[in-house]
C-alpha cells in the first residue's frame, strides 16, 4: 500500500514536471529569449562599454568579474518567475483544482513545480553562461561549487515563487515581490561590485542580504575569489531552502490561498 502510494506520487510528480517543461519550451519566446537578450545587453553595456573604463576588480577584468553575478541573476529571476506565473495561472484559471482533488501528496505538487522552476532557471543560466563566454574568457575554478550553488539557488527561488503564488490574489501581486524585493536584493547583492569596496558599515548591512551569499559563491565557483566564507554561504543557502520548503508544505496542507 505504502509502495503503491509512493509510486503514484512519483507518477504525479513526473506528470507535473513534464507538463511544466513542455510549457516552458512551447512558449520559449516568452520564457527563454527575453532574459537572454536582457543579459546580453548587460554584458554589452556594463561589461564592454563601461567595464573597459572601470579597470580590474579582485584581479579580473570587470566583464569577467560581473559574469557570475549576471548568471546568478538569471537563475534567480527565472526560477522565481516561472513558478509564480505558472502556479498563479493555475490558481487564477482554477485548474489547480485538478491537483487539489487528486490523491497526489502535497510534497509531490511542490516538488513538481520546483523542478519546473529549476529547469527554466538553470536553462536560462546555462544559455547566459554561453553568452558570457562570447564576451569574455570565463574560467571555471570549482565546477562542483557552480553546480551545487546553481541547484540550491534555483530550488530556493522556485519555492519562493510558489509561496508568492499561494498568497497572490491578483496578477499585480505576482509582480510586486520580484519588482520591489527581488530586484533590489539582487542589485545590492554584489552583482556589479565586490562588497570589499563598500565602507565597513555597509559591508555589514549587505551581509543581511541572502542573495549576496549565492552570488558570491557562484563567483567563487567560476573565478576562485570570494568575499564570504564558503561554509557560511552553504549553510545560509541550505537553511533558507529547508525553511521555505517547510513553510510552503505547511501552507499547502492548510490550503492557504487555495481553499476557502
Amino acid at each position: 500500500m505504502h509502495l503503491e502510494r509512493t509510486r503514484a506520487n512519483w507518477v504525479g510528480f513526473s506528470t507535473i514536471v513534464v507538463k511544466e517543461i513542455r510549457r516552458i519550451l512551447r512558449i520559449w519566446v516568452q520564457t527563454v529569449v527575453p532574459p537572454v537578450i536582457q543579459m546580453t545587453l548587460y554584458f554589452l553595456i556594463f561589461g564592454s562599454v563601461i567595464g573597459s573604463r572601470v579597470g580590474k576588480m579582485n584581479g579580473y577584468d570587470y566583464m569577467t568579474y560581473i559574469a557570475p553575478g549576471l548568471i546568478m541573476m538569471s537563475v534567480i529571476t527565472n526560477s522565481y518567475t516561472n513558478v509564480v506565473s505558472s502556479f498563479f495561472g493555475a490558481k487564477f484559471s482554477r485548474y489547480v483544482e485538478e491537483l487539489m482533488i487528486s490523491p497526489l501528496a502535497n510534497a509531490s505538487i511542490l516538488l513538481g513545480y520546483m523542478a519546473g522552476g529549476m529547469f527554466r532557471g538553470l536553462l536560462v543560466g546555462a544559455i547566459v553562461t554561453l553568452v558570457a563566454a562570447l564576451f569574455t574568457n570565463l574560467p571555471i575554478a570549482h565546477p562542483w561549487v557552480i553546480v551545487t550553488t546553481a541547484l540550491l539557488t534555483s530550488a530556493m527561488f522556485s519555492v519562493g515563487g510558489f509561496l508568492n503564488a499561494l498568497f497572490a490574489k491578483k496578477f499585480d501581486d505576482v509582480t510586486i515581490i520580484p519588482t520591489f524585493v527581488l530586484t533590489p536584493l539582487v542589485y545590492l547583492g554584489g552583482v556589479f561590485y565586490s562588497i570589499a569596496l563598500l565602507p565597513p558599515i555597509w559591508q555589514h548591512v549587505t551581509r543581511v542580504d541572502p542573495l549576496l551569499y549565492m552570488i558570491d559563491t557562484l563567483r567563487y565557483g567560476f573565478l576562485g575569489v570570494s568575499d564570504i566564507a564558503l561554509t557560511e554561504a552553504y549553510a545560509i543557502m541550505v537553511g533558507f531552502l529547508v525553511l521555505l520548503f517547510a513553510l510552503a508544505l505547511w501552507l499547502l496542507r492548510r490550503g492557504t490561498g487555495l481553499k476557502s
Binding site: 506528470t15 507538463k19 491537483l99 487528486s102
Partner: protein, 318 residues
C-alpha cells in the same frame, strides 16, 4: 478495519461550514448515499450545494463534521478518499490552452496512472464522449457542451466508483443534455455511484432514484425520489414578460432562470407562495404578461426532429 464493501458510498455527518465573515453555508448536513445509487442533490442558488460538494472533493475546508467515502474517513485517509471520487464541477476548470488529450492524460497522472495506461483510458473515454476527433484541439476552441463532456471524461479517467456532477448540463442544448443522461445512466448501470446537482427538475426526476433537498445550509427533505416529488409538488412555471429583460432579477428564496429576453422560469416548492415571487418581481420592475406550467413537449418534438434529421443523413450517407 471496517468492511468497506458493507459501507455506503458516501456518508456525511453533521457537516458544517462557516465562511470567513460569519456566513453559515452548511448548518449540520447529514446525508447517506448507498452504493450504486443515482442521487440528486437539489436546492436553490446559494443553498449550499456547491460548498457541500467542494468539501467532499477537498476543495473547501470544513468547519465541523465527518465524511466517509466507501468507509474511508476523509480526515484520516484523504488520499484514499480522493482516489475514490470523480468530480465534474459547475464551472470550466481546465487549462484552456492545453490540448484535450493532454488535459485527460495529465489528470490521470495526478492519480498515479502511468502514461501508457493513461493514454489508453483517455482514448476510451474520449471516444465514448464523442471527443476523440478533438483530441489534438486546444480546449478553448471547444463549444460549451463539449467542454462539459471533457470535464466528464477527465473525472472518469481514474475509474472512480463515486462520480459527483455539479450541474453538468447547465447551459447545454437539449440534444447534448439527453446524450449526457444516457451516458450517465450507462455508467450507473455499470456500478458507478452518481451524485448529481441540477436545476432541471425533470433531469433529476428522470435519472435519480434518491433525492435530498438542501435549503439554507440544511437538508429539508431526503428520501425516495417519487415519494418526495409527490409530497413536494415542486412545479416550474414559465413567465412570459411584457418587457424584454437583459439580466435575471435577484429573487430571494426562489430559483429563477432567464431563458431569453422575454421568458423566465420559476421553480416553486411546497409552502412557497407565488404572490411572494410576484411581489419581488414587481419590486424589481419586471412585468409578467402571462404564466404557464412548464412541460417537456417542446423538448420531445425537438429531439424527434433531431433524430429524424440524423437518421436521414445516415441513410443518405450509406
Amino acid at each position: 478495519m471496517a468492511n468497506t464493501n458493507a459501507q455506503p458510498a458516501l456518508r456525511i455527518e453533521n457537516l458544517r461550514k462557516t465562511y470567513r465573515g460569519g456566513i453559515e453555508a452548511l448548518r449540520g448536513v447529514s446525508i447517506e448515499v448507498a452504493r450504486g445509487e443515482f442521487f440528486a442533490l437539489l436546492g436553490p442558488n446559494g443553498a449550499g450545494k456547491t460548498t457541500l460538494i467542494g468539501i467532499v472533493a477537498s476543495l473547501v475546508n470544513k468547519s465541523a463534521g465527518s465524511i466517509h467515502v466507501f468507509g474511508k474517513n476523509a480526515d484520516e485517509d484523504p488520499a484514499g478518499v480522493r482516489s475514490q471520487i470523480g468530480l465534474v464541477p459547475q464551472e470550466v476548470n481546465f487549462n484552456l490552452w492545453e490540448r484535450v488529450i493532454d488535459i485527460i492524460v495529465n489528470q490521470a497522472g495526478y492519480y498515479g496512472i502511468p502514461r501508457r495506461e493513461a493514454l489508453e483510458r483517455s482514448e476510451r473515454y474520449l471516444h465514448q464522449l464523442d471527443l476523440w476527433k478533438y483530441r489534438n484541439t486546444n480546449a478553448r476552441a471547444l463549444s460549451g457542451g463539449f467542454k462539459r463532456r471533457l470535464m466528464v471524461a477527465r473525472a472518469l479517467v481514474h475509474n472512480p466508483p463515486l462520480l459527483i456532477l455539479d450541474e453538468p448540463t447547465a447551459g447545454v442544448d437539449i440534444e447534448l443534455r439527453r446524450s449526457m443522461w444516457v451516458f450517465l445512466q450507462q455508467l450507473n448501470a455499470e456500478g458507478v455511484t452518481i451524485i448529481l446537482t441540477t436545476h432541471y427538475l425533470e433531469e433529476a426526476e428522470s435519472l435519480c432514484r434518491k433525492i435530498a433537498i438542501i435549503q439554507h445550509g440544511r437538508i429539508s427533505e431526503q428520501g425516495d425520489m417519487h415519494e418526495l416529488l409527490e409530497s413536494l409538488r415542486m412545479e416550474t412555471f414559465v413567465l412570459d414578460l411584457a418587457r424584454p429583460l437583459s439580466e435575471t432579477p435577484p429573487l430571494e428564496d426562489f430559483a429563477l432562470r432567464r431563458i431569453d429576453d422575454a421568458t423566465l422560469e420559476l421553480d416553486m416548492c411546497r409552502g412557497q407562495n407565488i404572490n411572494d415571487a410576484f411581489a419581488q418581481l414587481s419590486a424589481a420592475g419586471v412585468q409578467v404578461r402571462s404564466l404557464r406550467n412548464k412541460s417537456n413537449r417542446l423538448e420531445e418534438i425537438f429531439m424527434r426532429l433531431v433524430e429524424e434529421e440524423r437518421n436521414a443523413s445516415r441513410t443518405h450517407a450509406s
